[in-house]
C-alpha cells in the first residue's frame, strides 16, 4: 500500500519566516503501529525544522533498516531521503556529507540498527566528528523483525514474550561520550517539550550530535516488565535541566535568574539556554557528564536532556581541509589537470 498526505490544509496554520506551515515539513502518512513512539519523534522533528525555518530541500534524511528507519518517509516530504542498508547509514551519510557540505544531514536509526549491526559505523562516525544529527529511536527491541531483544535492552527487562533479558545494556550516550562525541543528549519520545529544543540545538551543532530517544514499541515492548515502556520511562526519567533554543535571527526575550542558567552561542549564531541545571552535571565537561550518567544509571533512573556539548568542536571537513565549495559543484576546470600535465607525468616515467 502506498499513501500520500492529502494536500488540503487549514489556511490559518502559522507560517515560519520562510512562509512555510508545519505541513510543509510533514511526509507521507505513517504506516507504523498506532501509538508507536517513533511517530512522536517524527512529529518533534517536523516541529523543530518548522520552528527553525529550515529550507526542507536543504535537509537530507538518511536511515538504516527497521521501523525507526522507515520513519523518514513520514516527515520532511520535500527533502531527499535514503533508506539504506541495515546498520550502515553512517557511512552513507559520511559520503554524502563529503560530497556536499552545505546540506543538513539528519540520520535516523534504531537501537538494533545502531547498537548491534551498525555499531562499528556508529562509533567511527563519532570518532570522525561527522557533521550530522544522529537520532536513535530506541525501543530496546527489534520492532520490524517482531520484538527480539536488542543490545540496548536492560538486563532483566522483558518484552511481551516474557523472558527477562540476561545481558547488560549498551548505553549509547555513555558510549558516545567515551568515544569523544561532541554533542550527546537523551530524551523520551513522549516529551516533546524537551525533545524539540534538543533537536534544534543538535541541528545547530557543528559536528556529530547524538540524541538517544527512548521510544516505546507498543506492539512488542510496552508491557509492565519492560524498562522501555511508556509507564516505566515516565516514572524513571530525570532531566539534566531545561533547554531553550533561540535561533540566530530571533531576539532573546526570556530571561532567567542569574546563577541558575547558562547561555551558549552556537557556531551559527543561535543561542542555547540551559537552565534549572542539575547541580551534579556540567554539560561542558565530559567527565562530569560521564559520572552523572553512571550515577543515574546505578540508581535505576534514566538521565535525559543535554548531557554533554563541546562548544569548540571541529567537524570532519575542517580536519580534512576540504574546499568551502561543495565538492559536488566542482566541474572539469577544477578537477581535470589536462593533457599538458599528463605529458609531464609521462616524461617522468621513461
Amino acid at each position: 500500500m502506498s499513501y500520500q498526505v492529502p494536500k488540503f490544509r487549514h489556511p490559518e496554520l502559522p507560517r515560519n519566516e520562510l512562509g512555510y506551515t508545519r505541513a510543509d515539513y510533514e511526509g507521507s502518512i505513517s504506516t507504523l503501529c498506532a501509538g508507536c513512539g517513533h511517530d512522536s519523534i517524527s512529529g518533534s522533528i517536523v516541529r523543530a525544522c518548522h520552528e527553525l525555518s529550515l529550507e526542507p530541500h536543504k535537509i537530507a534524511k538518511l536511515s538504516g533498516i527497521g521501523c525507526s528507519s522507515k520513519s523518514p518517509t513520514y516527515f520532511l516530504g520535500k527533502s531527499h531521503g535514503f533508506n539504506s542498508v541495515h546498520g550502515r547509514m553512517p557511512s552513507v551519510v559520511t559520503g554524502a556529507a563529503m560530497a556536499n557540505r552545505d546540506l543538513l544531514y539528519l540520520g535516523v536509526s534504531g537501537d538494533g540498527d545502531t547498537a548491534s549491526i551498525g555499531m562499528g559505523q556508529f562509533t567511527h562516525a563519532i570518532r570522525r566528528n561527522l557533521n550530522m544529527v544522529y537520532i536513535v529511536m530506541n525501543n530496546g527491541c527489534y520492532g520490524l523483525t517482531k520484538g527480539q531483544d536488542s543490545a540496548t535492552a536492560d538486563e532483566g527487562s522483558a518484552s511481551k514474550k516474557g523472558d527477562p533479558n540476561p545481558f547488560g545494556a549498551i548505553d549509547l550516550p555513555g558510549l558516545a561520550l567515551q568515544l569523544g562525541a561532541t554533542f550527546v543528549a537523551r530524551s523520551f519520545s513522549g516529551d516533546k517539550e524537551q525533545l524539540v529544543p534538543l533537536i534544534k540545538a543538535a541541528m545547530s551543532h557543528r559536528g556529530f550530535a547524538l540524541i538517544d530517544v527512548v521510544s516505546p514499541c507498543v506492539t512488542f515492548n510496552n508491557n509492565t516488565a519492560s524498562t522501555k515502556s511508556y509507564e516505566f520511562v515516565r516514572e524513571h526519567a530525570a532531566a539534566t535541566g531545561t533547554v531553550d533554543f533561540v535561533p540566530m535571527r530571533e531576539e532573546i526575550t526570556t530571561s532567567y535568574p542569574p546563577g541558575q542558567s547558562q547561555e551558549v552561542t552556537m557556531h551559527d549564531g543561535s543561542v542555547l539556554h540551559l537552565h534549572k541545571l542539575s547541580e551534579e552535571l556540567d554539560p561542558f565537561c565530559r567527565s562530569s557528564a560521564m559520572m552523572a550518567l553512571e550515577r543515574y544509571r546505578s540508581s535505576g533512573q534514566i538521565l535525559t536532556g543535554l548531557i554533554y556539548m563541546d562548544k569548540d568542536s571541529r567537524d570532519l571537513h575542517e580536519v580534512l581541509e576540504t574546499s568551502r565549495r561543495p565538492l559536488n559543484t566542482l566541474a572539469e576546470e577544477d578537477l581535470c589537470p589536462g593533457d599538458k600535465v599528463l605529458q609531464n607525468i609521462n616524461a617522468s616515467l621513461r
Binding site: N83, L330, L335
Partner: protein, 617 residues
Amino acid sequence: MKSLEAVNEFVIKFANVNGTGSASANNLFAKALFRMGLPVSPKNIFPSNIQGLPTWYEVRVSEKGYLGRRGGVDIMVSVNPQSMPQDIKEVEPGGYFIYDDTKPLDLRLIRNDVNIIGLPLTRICNEQYDDPRQRQLFKNVIYVGALAALLDMDFAVLTQLVGDQFKGKEKLVLPNIHALELGHQYVKSNLQCPIGITVRASDQVGDKILLDGNTALGLGAIYGGATVAAWYPITPSTSVVDAFEKYAKRLRIDPGTGARNYAIVQAEDELAAMGMVIGASWNGARAFTATSGPGLSLMSEFLGLAYFAEIPTVLFDVQRAGPSTGMPTRTQQSDVLSAAYASHGDTKQVLLFPATPKECFDMGAASFDLAERLQTPIILMTDLDLGMNDNMSEPLHWDDERRYDRGKVLSAEDLDKIERYGRYLDVDGDAICYRTYPGTHPEKGAFFTRGTSRDEYAVYTERGEEYEKNMHRLMAKWETIKEYVPKPEVVRSKQATDTALLYYGTSEESSREAMDYLAEDGIHVNAMRVRAFPFNDEVEAFLHEHERVFVIEQNRDAQLRTLLMAEFELGPDKLKSVLCFDGTPISARNIRKQILMQMPGHNVTPLRRERVVGNGE
C-alpha cells in the same frame, strides 16, 4: 655443456630476502634496459610479509616485444640462501646461476648443465661498509653493477639513471654509483665476460612508459573527476588510493584558498568504504573505492543496493589469490564471478577488464562517465600483476576537448518544466531514468531512495507487479549497457581457422605470444580480448563463428567461461579452458602446452578440469 646464447631476448630472475631493499635495485636494472630501448616486463613476486621471507623479481627482456611471462629462467641471481635449492632447479639447461660465493655453494646443489658464477657480494660489502644497513642495501646495487659487465650493458645508462632517480637527494647519487662500480670492476677483473646472453641498445620502446596499473588508476580517478575516495587498506589495491592522494596533493589544491578539492576517508572497513562511495555518488559527487577479494565480499550487500536503487558507483578491484590467509600477495583473476553477480536478489554488475596501464588510466577515468550514464556500479577488474608491477605501456593521453558525461540529472529549471517527476520512470525508452541531487529544488524532485519497494515515482509500494516491472526495466537497461561498455579486440589469423582463443586482462600478452608458438606448431587461431561484461554482441558472434574456443584465465574454476556459458547458453563442448592459478602470472609456454593437449587428434588425453594444475613453469 651448451650455454644459452641470446641477444636482447631472455628471462632473468632475482631471488632476494624481503625487506632488504632489493626491489629498488632490481627495478634499477629493469629500467636501465628499458632506457636502452628494450621492452622489459618486470614482475615482483613477493610474500605477505614485511621482512625476512623469500621474494623474487623476474624480468622478461624481449626485443621482439613479448611482455608476458614466457616461463623458465635463463639467468638466476641468487642472493637468498634460503631459497637457493629451489632457485637453482628453475634455471633452464645451459642457463646461468649467479650466487654470492662468500660462502661456498652446497655441493648437493650443483648442476652440471648450468653455468655457475660466483660473486663475493658479502665479502665486498664487509670490506667496504661498516654500517650493517649499508652492507645490506648496497649488496643489491653491487650485483646490478656486476650484471652490467656480465651482460655487456652500457654502464653510462645505469649511472645516469641513478642520477635521475635520486634527483633532490644528491647525497645518495655517488654512493650508489660507487656500489655499481664495485660490482662492475669485480667482474671485469676476475671473471670472463660477457656471458652468452647479452644486451645491446635497441629502438623498440619508442615513446612508451613504464608504469604500474594502480598508479595509472589513481591518475585515471584524478582525470575522471573523482572528488571522494573511501577505502580500507588491502594488498594489492592500496597503492591505487596512495597514487590518487599523491597526485591530488599536487593537482587538486584550490589555487586561491589552498583548500582541497577532494576528500579521502580511510574507512573502518570495506562495507563503510562502499557506503561512503554510494552516499557521495547519490549526492552528486564522483566517488570511488579500491579493494581486493575479501573486501569485495564485504561490499556485496551495498553493491546490491546500488544496483537496485541505481546509484552510480565506481569500484576498482585489484584481484589477488584467494582469502587473506591464502596468497594475498600473488596474482589471480578469481573475483570474476563474485563481482559479476555480486549481491542478493537478481543482480548483474558491469565489469571492465583493463590489460595495460594505459587502459587502467582510460577505463579508470571512463568508469565515472559510465557509472553516471548507466546509474549502476562499475567494477573495474584489474589484478596484482597489472596493478603492482611496472608494465611497459603506451603513454597516457587526455583529450582536452573531452567533457565529463554526468548522465541524466535534472536541474531546478528542468524540474520546473515537468508536471510530475518520477525517479524510476523510463521517459526516453532506454530504461535509464532521471536522477535529481538532494537540494536541487525547493518543491520538486525530492524522493526517498530505497531498494525496490517503490513504484516509478519512488512512492512506497510492495506490489509484486511493480517489482516485476522494475526488474524488467533493469534487464532492458542491461541491453542499453552493452552499447556503452568497451568493445572486444579481435586478432585474426592469416589462415582460416575454426579455433580461437579468448582472454581478458593480464592474460593478453602471454596469450599473444602463445599464438606465435602455436603457429610454429601448425595451429592457427583467431583471438579475442574481452574488455567488459555484459558481453557485447561481437563476443557472441565470435563464439558462434568458431568450432572451439580456448578461454584463457587465471583462476581454477574457469570463471569467465562460466559467465559466457550462462549468458549465451552455450554448452561445454565449444568452450575449453586454459587455466593458471598458482599465484604467478600465466606464461606463454603454459598456455601453449594446455592448448596442445586439448587439440583434436592429440595423443595425450586431455586433463580433466579438476586435474588441470596451474603450471607456472
